[in-house]
Amino acid sequence: MPFLLRAIRKNRWYEKPAEPFLASGDVPADPLADLRTDGNCLSVFCIDEDKANLERVLAAYASNRDIIANLDYALIDAQLLEKIGITCIKTVGQLPDQAVNNSWHRDLTGLSGLNLVALAKEILTKGEKLRVSQPRVVELIRTAVDSGHLDANRITPGIREKIKAGKAEAS
């Protein structure tokens, strides 16, 4: 089964001992900060079952930010969406990699508050929360540029300069 990827900040999702303010089955509020919707939609990426496209998606996402930094993300089984009644549709993304935009970008649509809480609960209990270190992010972007996956002209200027500077140092 494919996975869905959502960029997060890992510390909002830490598994802590039961918080006294939480009723059984409830979720803490902090993770919801990573599920910010726009028009009741949430942007995610579809990751192949064998994760063959994972690094390409990560590179595209990381290259679209202001600066090079660690990249935290959550992966959940795409099938879980059906269980919690969330609709997932294919839409065109806005990253500097057209394959990522056209093939793997998805929107979770028509989201309600309860949907978001249910999604947060699935990510908290069944999702993988992972971190790509800053040096690894540099490697991923550099590889994606070298392989022609990333449109260098669409990478954030600051990041483009860093990647260029790194290449100049290496050569």
Binding site: A7, K10, N11, E15, K16, R65, D66, N70, K129, Q134
Partner: protein, 213 residues
């Protein structure tokens, strides 16, 4: 601004004013926090400093006013940060202002930020964001002062601060932090955070190996 002067002003507590002074715990200048930071950056010949407290001159009223003003500015910047949503890799009004103030006021700003973080007045999320951005500043800027702040923040009761500290130390990529991170790994009770610390530990051990090559 002379850090000795700042130290004296911090020690006296006079610049906090009567309204806020009571709410801010006194800085123990013999804990090697602020004075050692200053010494490390101001004296490149003593790369690590010797830990001796400064014996600075009395601060002037003008310096005290400037420090108080900077404290209030940073405090309100942190306070505004509470209403912001931070994302890794994305600048914000908070990050731009924080970096600007540190570039402008240097060690004094860092000392105040260290205190705001330790006091947890604005919550772990804002403090963690501040540490991330301090870690990303140009390598030569107040390296040891920042290092000290990050190492101490690994012991924060807030997981978000500890996470910000480990990311900041990853950005500095200085093997000096290795024993501090080892200690933090042993103390860490949150599995995911412990794993992230171990990842940074491995990164710094690689950096250390490269240095000795």
């Amino acid at each position: 601004m002379n850090p000795d002067v700042v130290q004296t002003a911090l020690q006296s507590g006079a610049w906090f004013g009567s309204d806020s002074g009571a709410a801010i715990p006194a800085i123990d200048l013999h804990s090697h926090q602020f004075p050692v930071w200053a010494r490390r950056d101001n004296d490149p010949q003593t790369a690590r400093g010797d830990g001796a407290p400064f014996e600075g001159p009395e601060s002037s009223t003008a310096d005290q006013k400037r420090i108080k003003s900077l404290f209030e500015h940073l405090d309100s910047t942190f306070e505004r940060g509470r209403d912001m949503r931070f994302e890794d890799g994305m600048e914000s009004e908070f990050s731009r202002e924080l970096v600007r103030l540190v570039e402008l006021h240097g060690i004094v700003a860092l000392a105040i930020i260290g205190r705001l973080i330790a006091d947890q007045r604005s919550g772990g999320e804002v403090a963690g964001e501040a540490l991330r951005w301090l870690g990303r500043m140009e390598q030569s800027q107040f390296h040891w002062a920042r290092m000290r702040l990050f190492e101490e923040s690994l012991c924060s009761p807030s997981p978000a601060v500890r996470d910000g500290a480990i990311l900041a130390l990853a950005s500095l990529n200085d093997p000096h932090a290795i024993p501090y991170i080892r200690g933090a790994v042993q103390q860490e009770t949150i599995r995911e955070l412990r794993e992230d610390m171990e990842q940074v530990l491995a990164q710094l051990q690689d950096a250390e190996s490269c240095l000795s090559c």
